[in-house]
Symmetry: C2
Subunit: 321 residues, 2 copies
């Protein structure tokens, strides 16, 4: 908790203090009050900037001048690229060649060196990264299994507790890949608003966290699944994040890609907020899985909005004209 508070202090004036949004129409669809933490408005378009900034701030001057390296399909990449630039550190990002074009372009535009690898062809991402890191003395910043990063993401939980008050009750639905955000938020809420309970939300085919929480042990996803929720198609819970979530979270919730697209359409119509598919799964759970949730009020962390125009147009077509 001390690390989360310290990270939040470092973020002040550098990260956007994102609002909690609401709409009577969404309340009606969900059958309860829905509050949406709008992290697409965060710098680089996702919450990932928080953890990246928090981690960069803890490097020594020597580490900073050598630079950092990250593996990411996109949002962590952009967060690291901007945080590194603002800290005067070189950044190398290892990205899959099939990551959304917008995320690759944005990462390059932020001044990072992007190294692409062939995810489908079985190139070994870790080997590529380790070779680069060793040769140039780069510090690796992992997307979720890093205490500095988890502390930064926890600032989202501090803000929710501040806005809703220490006596707030209910579920807090968090879009979940490796679990860094969910873990940080859960730790912050445990201390500041213990009546709020984190519920991880995942896309179908990538429900490793949901199944792992039910089994009490870390499980992997079956190979071969596909989802448009590119931001959160991780293979298994993190070694650091899973024990935190197992202790503090309620059961996971699984939604379909079609539900994520409908949630994107409703966020456009009712909140004027751009969500990417992986950033919309928590809202989709609130709207379309009401029976999985308890209480009169549900909080949703909408995590990111870095979506290609074509995918967004697909979501818009799901609005009844």
């Amino acid at each position: 908790m001390d690390d989360i508070v310290a990270a939040a202090r470092r973020l002040r004036g550098h990260a956007v203090r994102t609002p909690l949004l609401a709409s009577p129409d969404l309340d009606e669809v969900a059958g309860r009050r829905v509050m949406v933490k709008a992290e697409p408005l965060q710098r680089t378009g996702s919450f990932k900037f928080r953890g990246a900034w928090a981690a960069l701030g803890l490097l020594s001057p020597a580490e900073r001048s050598r630079g950092v390296i990250a593996f990411s399909s996109g949002n962590h990449a952009q967060g690291i690229a901007l945080a590194a630039r603002d800290h005067g550190a070189p950044a190398v990002i290892v990205m899959p060649a099939d990551a959304p074009r917008l995320k690759i372009d944005n990462t390059r535009a932020l001044g990072a060196e992007v190294v692409l690898y062939d995810r489908a062809g079985g190139e070994d991402r870790d080997a590529i990264g380790e070779k680069l890191a060793e040769a140039r003395g780069l510090t690796l910043i992992r997307p979720f299994d890093d205490p500095r990063v988890i502390a930064g993401q926890g600032s989202v939980g501090l803000e929710i507790a501040e806005d809703l008050g220490p006596a707030a009750q209910g579920d807090v639905l968090v879009c979940c890949g490796g679990g860094g955000l969910a873990a940080g938020v859960a730790l912050a809420l445990e201390a500041r608003a213990p009546g709020l309970r984190v519920r991880p939300v995942e896309p179908a085919g990538f429900d490793d966290m949901t199944r792992s929480l039910a089994a009490g042990t870390r499980l992997r996803n079956a190979p071969g699944a596909a989802s448009i929720c590119d931001a959160i198609v991780t293979d298994s819970p993190g070694a650091l994040t899973f024990p935190i979530l197992h202790r503090l979270c309620g059961p996971g919730i699984v939604v379909t890609d079609a539900e994520a697209l409908r949630a994107m359409a409703l966020a456009f119509l009712r909140l004027k907020l751009v969500l990417e598919p992986g950033g919309a799964v928590a809202l989709a759970a609130a709207l379309f899985h009401p029976d999985a949730i308890a209480g009169d009020m549900v909080t949703v962390v909408a995590t990111g909005g870095n979506v290609d125009p074509a995918t967004f147009a697909d979501a818009l077509r799901r609005i009844d004209a």
Copy 2:
């Protein structure tokens, strides 16, 4: 100024405290730092909720129980409808039959009685409204030429001054129809951040405020013009708003519909914010008319996001794939 401060106090906890957003990419396009006040995130999707709420809060219990009436093509309608519902007041909204479908539907969904009139066919809106108001004892709340409404919109200026500090310098671009928001913001900034100067921004063909400021007297638009910026296609400056703007504002700026659509596309890509055409003209001025602006930093008030999916899809097609 006392009225603005009182309105802001009444709005606390009821209106969204909208953030100022920024993006390195927008800064690069504009050639200076761009800060965007994100009023599409306001309740009902535009700043109009502020003025509506401020006005409703000043009615006597008897006036409230008889109800209110408003004329509006959309955003004022939705603001009044929700503010009236929350104050337990009936609301009648007189809307043109050719207003965007989304705005008509949203106004009805908020519980207001919608009376449509034929704008092109020359039906007399004021006559329809006066008859209704007299028959049922309704209180008229005008969209901009009403001191209670101007005071509510001024809360936007208080928040900008609070976020940027009393010593901030530069232009504040405000999307401008009748001038209620621009007047409220100008009055708030005069008191709290006098180095910030309001600049009204209008769509081509509806540049009545720009020409009126230059002439020093209220001028009307030539008939027959058309614009997709439906929220701000008013005929002439308000009788109350014009003297305020004439005293406090810099020259107006005029942008094209095509520039508004390109600004919408960039707000989607870089801010993850949904803008409607009339809510995007100030951002369009910042991005595409840099020579009309002074200083290292420009503030933009993005006023609303109530746009039909088809129009938004048109904006998205302007992004280079």
